[in-house]
Amino acid sequence: MKKTPLDNDLNKAYEAFNQEHNHLRQTLMASLPEHAGRHKQSCRLSRMREFIGANIIKSRITKIAAAAAIIIVAIIIGVNQFRGSIDLVTIAIADISEAMKNVPWMHHINRGFEKGVTEQWIGFETKIHALKWVNGTITFSNIKEHKKYEYDPENNSITIDYAYEDDFPSSPVSFLEDAIKMLEEQGVEIITKETEYNGQIVQLQEISPPETPNKWGESYILRLYIQPDTKLLLAGQVKGTDSNGNTIMDGEITFDYPQTGPADIYDLGVPRDAKIIDN
């Protein structure tokens, strides 16, 4: 956009909204602790579960090809600080990233999460994105046609909305790349093994915080199963226990990379007689 005198004036004018910013931030932050405690106590764990099972997966990080990376980041941000070597995971995730650039479709199924998404498809060439949710909601977005369909099982209706370009992952690996950067900053310790998964020899990466249990008495372990030839991620598992050894998280995300995926919302099991609401 060409810079005009109006631009200069607008730049100056908008500086007004930065006035006293530091002082105002201090005041605000000083008034937060009582609320922060509440969040920390009531939301942290449920948000962690939701983080893995729902929001992230439903958000545009559905770029998620990288669910495993998301789990790593979830643990880093939400549960603990990692320390140690980073080289191994950097290489592995970078390899996975590279491999994922070439898949036409990615599909994954989530198990063991109380909320959020149970199944997801991303067609990287067709620009189709479909999600099935625990509560029965189904969404199907065709980004090329800018159409988003959402099935509401309670009302047996399909709502049609506009689908934005940036609701679709521009690359299946962008979030992985972010995750790598974060891992580099935080540090993480990983044990790599060879193991059998669904009858094939795969690389297993076990990631666990060095300070286990963490300050809330919780222990987490993340396992990533990677196909060594294709470098594609086959599964990610996360297990968490509280200080009494009770399981607080036991989730698994399994990936596959089909040649085709759903062509419309009905392919996802939506009844043909569902009412259409076009927005």
Binding site: A13, E15, H21, R25, A36, I77, G78, D178
Partner: protein, 180 residues
């Protein structure tokens, strides 16, 4: 160093990292103040309202379904809070001092009358155009950031921004002619 996304910061807040909320504040407070200024017409009230918006957002953070859309959600809270403020002010109308007097007393950002006029002119634009200007000029001129908050497509955003700028130019021209 990579700048953490809104999503990461929101997650960190849930994990008890208060500093992450300070970062979200740095990112969005000027925008929220600008949105509030559209209603209040003076900076002091806009600052107060914005503080309240951030407090409310913090309390209701677990209602945010998609942390990647924190900015858009926050602007929604700001609009709601502005509506309440406007209603309350309507009740207090009798007691109110002439607004223009208050404005000139409290808000004189750079002692530059032209700039002050410009800000007032922005408040007369349609809401969509105001938000396009606010997001563009307060979010580092990143169209992607601005689009995330306005919900417009790239071309749609540029169209609205362009319309807002043209309208402002006309208003300024008219103002200059009036002065002459």
């Amino acid at each position: 160093m990579v700048e953490p996304s809104d999503e990461m910061l929101v997650r960190a807040v849930f994990a008890g990292e208060k500093a992450a909320y300070a970062e979200l504040y740095d990112r969005y407070a000027p925008l929220v103040r600008a949105v509030c200024y559209d209603t209040t017409g003076n900076l002091a009230d806009a600052q107060d309202l914005a503080q309240d918006v951030f407090l409310r957002a913090y309390e209701k953070l677990d209602h945010l379904r998609d942390p990647a859309r924190f900015g858009k959600w926050l602007v929604g809270i700001a609009r709601l809070r502005c509506l309440e403020w406007r209603r309350r002010k309507a009740h207090e109308r009798d007691k109110r001092v002439e607004l223009s007097d208050v404005q000139s007393a409290i808000f004189n950002p750079s002692n530059d009358n032209r700039i002050e006029q410009l800000l007032k002119m922005i408040t007369t634009l349609p809401e969509k155009e105001r938000l396009a200007l606010h997001t563009f000029y307060l979010q580092g001129k990143s169209v992607d950031n601005a689009r995330r908050i306005t919900g417009l497509s790239r071309s749609g955003f540029y169209r609205v921004l362009d319309r807002a700028r043209k309208r402002l130019e006309q208003l300024m021209l008219r103002e200059q002619e009036n002065i002459r």
